[in-house]
Symmetry: C2
Subunit: 203 residues, 2 copies
């Protein structure tokens, strides 16, 4: 009964646009909060509905797949937690970013989010495309550190600035999410050095 009436209420919300968007946002916020708290394994349509204060049917109707729900909640994530400095010199900007990524990956709740991303992609291969887009964008934002250095005339133009970032952060993600090895400052510095070695300094 309560399911039926909620669906009706929700249909009204859908017609009003703004409300529909608000429901969508509150479900995605709830999903992200669930992932942060307990990871992908403990998130469910029911737990998300409960947290968002909406009916389970509302969640199921819009996100029939849990993997898609998790992915949508993560892709919408405005990531202000990683520093993308562009003051120069480029080496210190890169070091600041790498240190910031390493610190972020040490946070258990953030590991939960990344693990959920990986799990959702593995569960539903059609989400790999969404994940690929998410990462392409993240790396391109990070690449700004390199292109800003080019613009300052500090380094020669770089063919693929996002790849420099990728080389720098891959070992950090590998240790944090896959091989579970400790990330110390020496390891961070080593990753930064390898990225810097890809750059050409004029003169």
């Amino acid at each position: 009964m309560s399911e039926g009436s909620e669906v009706t209420l929700d249909s009204v919300k859908e017609r009003t646009g703004g409300r529909s968007a608000r429901v969508r946002q509150s479900v995605l916020d709830a999903a992200r909060a669930e992932l942060l708290e307990g990871g992908y394994g403990s998130m469910s349509h029911a737990s998300v509905a409960r947290r968002a204060g909406v009916d389970r049917a509302t969640v199921y109707r819009r996100w029939p797949s849990k993997a898609r729900l998790a992915m949508d909640s993560l892709v919408g994530l405005a990531d202000n937690s990683v520093a993308f400095p562009d003051r120069g010199p480029v080496e210190s900007d890169l070091r600041e970013m790498a240190t910031s990524v390493a610190k972020l990956l040490e946070t258990p709740s953030i590991s939960h989010l990344f693990q959920a991303l990986i799990a959702a992609q593995a569960e539903d291969p059609s989400l790999r495309e969404v994940g690929a887009g998410f990462w392409k964008e993240r790396l391109e934002i990070g690449a700004h550190i390199v292109t800003a250095a080019v613009d300052r005339g500090e380094i020669d133009p770089v063919e693929d600035p996002a790849h420099v970032l990728e080389v720098m952060i891959s070992p950090l993600y590998f240790r944090a999410l896959i091989s579970c090895q400790e990330i110390d400052q020496a390891f961070i510095d080593d990753s930064v050095d390898r990225a810097v070695a890809m750059l050409a300094f004029p003169g």
Copy 2:
């Protein structure tokens, strides 16, 4: 009723030692097969018990946690699928290994296994230690490519041969499991070149 009798049967097996080990092995084999087929999300105590032909209670008693069951089934995995050549020259040995890893990571069932490893570690942080041990061993086996080259006198001694391997394979795992970007031969070659750049060739 059937649960009770199976537990009894199993207790007898346990006393006989060899049978207990066989049950353990068949449960771990079944768990791995479940992971290969459907990934971590679809594996359960019930599905593993069904496949192994043992009672659910047997599985629960020995592996109360699903994360631990998944981890045990993966850590026991004899990995013969990656080539560890040591014929030299070291650069071609490394290239052969990297190509073999990239090919392996393209296999959906193998991605399922790695995803399960990541999910289990995220779900139960106490398993991070097991995962860390698993990876430490894998990287040390791979490091044989580098130490063999030192033994042949082809390169100078290397302080941390496993780290050379880590640098080479991190970007491959990052693309395959995390960022979902395509891995082409140019990307593999690039990763190999970066590992080779860590080596010192005498003369």
